[in-house]
């Protein structure tokens, strides 16, 4: 007689034990510390914080260690932790104009107030494997430091354009933005929620969507007006105090894309903005976000919505990698009840088709 397979419970226990073993790897090799990850895998930590929507390098490092370096899994761990945290309040809007800049480049002006600051970038490195790193590594010599200039203020490039009337004004609003982690998205979502969604969207998805606009699917002639990276102070204003207090610093990357706009009957030709702001030093994602933001403004600016990157519902519904990976990987779960129904259905259809064929042959 047939005996159905049992033992899901024991299997899970053993699988978890095996997973823990695999995660640790060869015990003869020193275990990696979360401090090492936080200090030396900084861009991975930044990505996990950005997409995990939680600024905590320590927890992000732990998540990376626990997930064996699978960043989407690490993002998932961080999100699942974040969702249990109580909310004490909302910060004031951060002032990126007052950012302590470690990198700031503009592709639209050769020089500009505040200057170009190349900063720690891969941009002009030659991508040759450095075998010395594999051997010893060691501590590199300290980089030269410039004296801060007299006018260290860094006005936003888009502000310079706006002063000339060349940059379309954004609609100002003091309305409290929605929170897509608490309220389900409805469409049209509006720009605030759109930006919120893009800020934690999967980096690969954002990059591809942005890239598609560059290849003609909803193109919008972008220039990097400015890309800046550095630390800003986060402030809250407790009602019982009545004034703002700084509670810490976060590292942000902001990208302002300048895009041509042909103008309409109501507005003269001018530039429009695509905006990207992300946690950490995740420059690729800030730039992608700015391109996708601009593409998603198509309807608002009276452009024809023809490309995927311009379709708000399409982009926002498929940008979250925790949602996407969960739903995709759930195909691994048993589906034999449904498959059994499909089997019976296909068999019934085949039987009907065979009967019909027989009848036709007889006629």
């Amino acid at each position: 007689m047939y005996v159905a397979v049992k033992g899901g419970e024991a299997a899970i226990g053993h699988a978890h034990a095996w997973l823990a073993e695999e995660r640790r790897g060869d015990p003869a090799v020193a275990e990696i510390g979360t401090d090492q990850i936080a200090e030396q895998m900084t861009l991975a930590v930044d990505r996990v914080m950005a997409e995990g929507s939680l600024y905590d390098p320590g927890l992000a490092s732990l998540a990376i260690k626990q997930s064996r370096g699978d960043l989407i899994e690490a993002i998932f761990l961080l999100r699942a932790y974040r969702t249990t945290l109580p909310r004490f309040g909302a910060s004031l809007p951060v002032e990126t104009g007052a950012m302590r800049v470690r990198r700031r480049v503009s592709a639209t002006y050769k020089d500009l107030p505040g200057g170009q600051v190349l900063g720690p970038t891969f941009d002009y490195t030659h991508r040759l494997l450095d075998f010395a790193l594999a051997a010893e590594g060691g501590v590199p010599p300290a980089a030269a430091q410039a004296e801060p200039g007299d006018d260290s203020a860094c006005p936003a490039v888009t502000g310079l354009l706006a002063a000339e009337g060349l940059m379309a004004a954004e609609e100002a609003s003091d309305a409290e933005p929605g929170d897509l982690t608490r309220t389900p998205l409805a469409f049209p979502a509006g720009r605030a929620l759109r930006l919120q969604n893009l800020a934690r969207a999967d980096e690969g998805f954002l990059l591809s969507m942005a890239y598609s606009t560059q290849r003609g699917y909803g193109g919008n002639h972008p220039f990097v007006g400015e890309l800046r990276q550095g630390e800003v102070v986060v402030e809250i204003e407790p009602p019982e105090l009545g004034f703002a207090i700084g509670i810490g610093e976060v590292t942000l990357t902001e990208c302002q894309m300048v895009n041509q706009f042909h103008g309409s009957r109501a507005e003269p030709p001018q530039f429009t903005r695509g905006y990207g702001l992300v946690l950490g030093r995740t420059e690729r994602r800030a730039m992608s976000m700015a391109l996708v933001d601009r593409a998603l403004r198509a309807a608002e600016l009276g452009e024809e919505v023809v490309a995927p990157a311009q379709d708000e519902e399409f982009v926002l519904s498929h940008s979250d990698n925790v949602e996407a990976t969960g739903f995709l990987e759930h195909l691994k779960l048993p589906h034999y009840v449904d498959f059994q129904s499909e089997l019976e259905s296909v068999r019934a259809m085949r039987a009907a088709a065979a009967r019909d064929a027989l009848r036709e042959a007889a006629e």
Partner: protein, 315 residues
């Protein structure tokens, strides 16, 4: 509502796994979900948006169902979890262990008759449900029209207008082409004569069990952030045509274990020469019929956690 719903109020202040509230979700979140559920019960079959939380289990694993269960369950409840009809499938085990871990005092069971809350993926138990029981369905895709119209902004409009012509045409085309309706599971139903609803991917064999069921049926879709409900004794009609009435499907065979010829069967391939046997998909029902010398009745909470860690107190 049911005793189960009241139970969760009494749970306030009880803590589950270290650092987490009873049944994982904080009381504010549970209240938000219960409000959405009340609305869903008041408008049977209508999809209610809710602020779905990120759960420690992946989307697609039943995050919607887990949130609904967490919102309605209390320490006096008895929970049963099934996946594909079985209590011992890995995902059912995992979800049952999750609740045993985060909801101290909660008892779990494999017996349909003993359960006050039954969370399910893809099946409705063969044992008839009774008043006071709550069925919680895990729903991957709450929008029954999504294959015909992917834009939710548009499907919302269609529901508002009760414009279900798209689906009727699809069923008609199935019949014209294949002589029968193509959907063998997740076959759409009309609830209370008003809303078209996805019954979740249960086999169409189970659809009739929803009709005028004495149990409260709650549906949770976590990733899609929707809840909906079928209150007890509500009319649930599988979509069909007068000349092509709805026809639930099952394998024409008997269960090899208990001999039942009226249950939904899983097909087991026994060799590579076409050998196969059929057994009940509902393991509890099948076990009862075989004479009950089986393990797994009621359990106290706090099943052992074989080497599993879920980052409690990670800060």
């Amino acid at each position: 509502m049911s005793a189960a719903v009241q139970g969760s109020d009494r749970s306030s202040g009880r803590t589950g796994a270290e650092g987490y509230n009873f049944a994982y979700l904080d009381e504010g979140t549970k209240r938000m979900i219960r409000r959405a559920l009340l609305k869903a019960v008041a408008v049977p079959g209508h999809q209610v948006p809710f602020g779905s939380r990120e759960m420690p289990l992946p989307y697609g694993w039943g995050t919607g169902g887990i949130q609904v269960t967490a919102a309605v369950i209390g320490p006096e409840d008895v929970l049963k979890v099934i996946d594909q009809g079985a209590d011992d499938t890995t995902n059912a085990v995992s979800i049952r262990r999750f609740f045993a871990r985060v909801a101290p005092g909660l008892r779990t069971t494999e017996r349909t008759a003993d359960a006050t809350v039954i969370q399910t993926r893809h099946r409705i138990p063969e044992t008839p449900l009774r008043e006071g029981q709550v069925m919680v369905y895990q729903v991957p895709q709450p929008e029954p029209l999504y294959k015909l119209e992917p834009r939710r902004a548009e499907t919302r409009r269609l529901h508002a207008l009760a414009d279900y012509g798209l689906m009727q045409v699809k069923l008609y085309e199935d019949i014209a082409r294949n002589g029968r309706v193509g959907s063998s599971y997740d076959h759409p139903v009309m609830v209370g004569g008003r809303y078209l609803m996805s019954p979740s991917p249960i086999p169409s064999f189970d659809n009739p069990k929803m009709h005028r069921s004495p149990a409260l049926q709650l549906f949770g879709a976590g990733r899609e952030r929707r809840l909906y409900a079928v209150p007890p004794y509500t009319e649930v009609r599988s979509l069909d045509f007068d000349d092509h009435p709805f026809e639930p499907l099952r394998a024409r065979a008997r269960c090899a274990l208990c001999g039942a010829d009226d249950t939904y069967l899983d097909e087991m391939v026994t060799d590579d020469r076409g050998g196969r046997v059929f057994v009940c998909s509902d393991t509890d029902y099948c076990g009862e019929r075989q004479g009950g010398e089986r393990q797994g009745g009621e359990r106290q909470g706090g099943e052992r956690q074989g080497g599993e860690r879920q980052g409690s107190g990670a800060a």
